[in-house]
């Protein structure tokens, strides 16, 4: 329990981060930025895990472990995504998501 800061503050921050991430994912054209948006979404989830763990079950640690896992997964995902983006860049010399729409029909 952190003095003077209620659970709502944390939740508002994490919700804002989540929707900023969503908006960025949908709106932005640059693949790197889209990747950043995904990281934002993941981090908002991590905050939620930690906050709920801390405020609701202070004597337990599951939330913390989940947070650690998500950070690890996010790192792996980032490396894969960046590898893909680099390859796309090599092929078409640009990383706008509008130009990456061949995977259809």
């Amino acid at each position: 329990m952190i003095q003077g800061i209620s659970i709502y503050h944390f939740l508002i921050v994490s919700t804002l981060m989540f929707f900023i991430g969503i908006a960025g994912f949908i709106i932005r054209q640059n693949l790197i930025t889209i990747l950043l948006s995904v990281e934002l979404i993941l981090n908002s989830v991590v905050i939620n895990f930690l906050v709920f763990n801390r405020y609701l079950y202070p004597d337990q640690l599951q939330g913390h472990f989940f947070a650690l896992f998500i950070i690890g997964v996010a790192a792996a995902e980032a490396s894969v995504a960046i590898a893909l983006i680099i390859n796309i860049y090599r092929r078409i010399h640009n990383i706008e998501s509008d130009n990456v729409n061949e995977m259809k029909y």
Binding site: I22, F25, I26, I27, I34, S97, D98, V100, N101, E102, M103, K104, Y105
Partner: protein, 640 residues
Amino acid sequence: MINYSYTILIPLIPLVIFVFTGLLGMKWKPLVSGIIGTVGVGISFFLSLFTAYEYFFATATGSAYHTIIPVNMLWLSFTHTLQIHMGVLLDPISVMMIVVVTTISFMAHLYSIGYMKGERGFQRYYSFLSLFTFSMLGVVLATNIFQIYIFWELVGASSFLLIGFYYDKPSAVAAAKKAFIVTRFADLGFLIGILILSYYTGTFDFSKLLQPGTHLFAGLAGVSFLGLSGITWAMALIFMGAAGKSAMFPLHIWLPDAMEGPTPVSALIHAATMVVAGVFLVARLFPIYHFQAPDVLIFIGYVGGFTSLIAAIIAMTQFDIKRVLAYSTLSQIGYMMVALGVSGYGGEAGLGYMASMFHLFTHAMFKALLFLGAGSIIHTIHSNFMKDMGGLRKYMPITHFTFLAACLAISGIPPFAGFFSKDEILAAAFESNKLLFYVEYITAGLTSFYIFRLYFNIFWGKDPEYKHKPHEAPLNMTIPLIFLGLGSTFGGFVPFHKLVTSDMKPFTTVTHWGIMLPSVGIGLLGLAVAWVLYKKENDLPDKISKKLGILYTSTYHKFYIDEIYLFVTKKIIFNYIARPIAWFDHNIVDGFMIGVGTVTVKISYKIKKFQSGELQQYAFVFVAGVIMLALFILYSLGYH
């Protein structure tokens, strides 16, 4: 009691040979498969002779023979009541038939070694012959009507395979197809008949069905359909199957075409054994026919009589020697059917039954001999037509003498085999049906005429221009000829009335002088007419045929029966039945299926745009969906 369980080997040996020759034959030298097949059937032949000896002579003669079922195993068990057995049934007719089948088959096997020498597919030929022998033995030894049906179809299939043996010849392929379709069509009736019969009686078993005075048919007699009782329908439909296999009018059209097969096959299948399967079937079910469906039996007699007359008339005008023999076969089978049709049951009244079986036996001998003789002529002349033959008696003495014996036998000249059996048939017909008697009497004269026309044309008359000098057939072809020649000469002395009778009790026959003398007379008359017309080359036959005009041409064209069939099938059935059904199938049934497919394709073309490849579009839709779902859940939980 003698143990007959070895009789199971009689059909099993050809089966084993069929399997081995069929699978491994191509790896062997052709001759090896021929010898294996011949030796195997030879063993069956001797076993059959041994069986016949034990059955007829080793037991006390004078008393009745008994039906013996040495082997009967459960083959298919569907329910408690519906069970199909396979087994071996020995009674006078089946013992007589195994002797006939194995004898002719053995002779045909032996003969084929020479006749088929150097043919492509020699091994295939022998494996089919073994298959045929196996299936035919299965028919005659069957313990129940369903076993007969199964082997009946097998016989049809092996006949199809052998007619179409020269499968690169279009006429042979067409003939095989025709034979199969016509007999198969008839077998449809047979199957329906079996089903009706066994549905009401609750059994397939001959040992139950053939008891005289059995109450099994009480259920059937009460049923009636279109004014005829159920049992009449059942037996008439079963006779339809018999008529198909035995090539009775109007289902006879396949038999003359079946002569496209190799000649020993014609001798074995289409003269001596398979085509008499129909006669055998009627004889096997004779107690049912006699006691339950006497109308059908009379009908059988008339069908037989009509076929025998019409076939004999057609035979007089044909020039292909095998076709003459084919029509002659039809005619003789007609005789057997007539004999069954006029027969009563038991003792002297069962004369027709005995005569029919007797004629079956002697006919098998002399007709197989005629075919094998024709085969050895064709083998050396390389033609089927009479105009390419003449004066052959100088070149082929053995064939000539054996052929002559067969001709005398079929004409009913004493003391050759056909005389005795034909005389019994005429006597039986005379007793009960005068009309059929006169038909058969005239047919006897025609028979004698056409067979001696054939004989004089082949062996007498002027030599045509032979490309190379005709020669006598090799020894393995003449031995069967001589053997069958002896059979045709002395086969008539077998005391059939003591062996094969309708109620399995021997009876004594009286000599019918009043019938015997005129029948010999008309046989000799036919011979004499043929002598005058064909012994020396002259223009009398041509003049007569010109005088007869349309009568002659319509006979020459086999009364246009084939053409009528073609008209009915091609013009009527194809146009008015098959074509509308095909249209329905093509447009309605297929159309529905194609419609379903087309609609699916059209719709998927329309909706495939949803898959745009735009990542962010997908994400937007996904997020929007999740939000809407969340709102919906919140709303439904009561958070307004």
